[in-house]
Symmetry: C2
Subunit: 144 residues, 2 copies
């Protein structure tokens, strides 16, 4: 569904959000440990998320990553996916046709539109805050 990079990106953002809610800035090393991802690769993804204004990075000693508390509720999964994987999940034909639309559809166009709209809606409606909700009380997990 998503690329590995995107999976790590969502998990990392969620962990950063969780800690930022507590006022804690977190280091790359801690993030990678807590979401069980390769450190250096995660660094690359965080750079990308930082450039896309999804997370804030602070260089130097005591630096790390954080997300502005007010933004946590506004940031949606769709923005993270867009930044890393682009729009190829929503856009683009399910059977790989370059040009596929209601006018010249592939045989499963309508059925795909429906499913991908559901996915799109879900990603656009799910905030990072919502992602953190179950984590604190041990209802959901970011590794294993």
């Amino acid at each position: 569904m998503f690329s590995k990079a995107c999976e790590y990106g969502i998990r990392a953002s969620t962990y950063i959000a969780l800690q930022s809610l507590e006022g804690r800035r977190v280091s790359l090393k801690e993030i990678a440990e807590e979401i069980d991802s390769p450190v250096a690769f995660t660094a690359k993804i965080l750079q990308l998320l930082s450039k896309n204004n999804i997370v804030d990075s602070v260089k130097g000693a005591h630096g790390g990553f954080e997300i502005n508390k007010e933004k946590i509720d506004k940031l949606k999964l769709s923005q993270i996916v867009d930044a890393i994987d682009g729009d190829k999940i929503y856009a683009g034909c399910g059977l790989g046709l370059k040009e596929c639309n209601a006018d010249k559809p592939c045989p499963v166009h309508d059925k795909f539109v429906e499913i991908r709209n559901d996915l799109k809606q879900m990603l656009e409606n799910t905030s990072l805050f919502e992602m953190t909700a179950g984590l604190e009380v041990g209802l959901t997990y970011l590794k294993r």
Copy 2:
């Protein structure tokens, strides 16, 4: 969503089904032309589909690929996807966790289960015959 191989596989199977309904056996070359796919790569995919008893291949002069007319209505997209991409679209966590289930879910587990069930249902309920329906009358397309 699907791999390129799977996209080509679905398009190729659909074209073979369409022609088999008319009693025509089709060559690799014709298939690749009609679905706009790389010839040699398509050959590999057709070998795989042949081994999985989704298409029948006939070697030698006047050979090619065909699908038994009775099977066209019974063959579902899910079988093609299974043969090429396996079950990774249904199974596996949306955020890439190795172990993610109702007991120890990732933060989007429930939402993903729903969307992927819809996808699964759709693939299991769509037959190759249904795929060919719009093609004959120019309502749907396999290339462009």
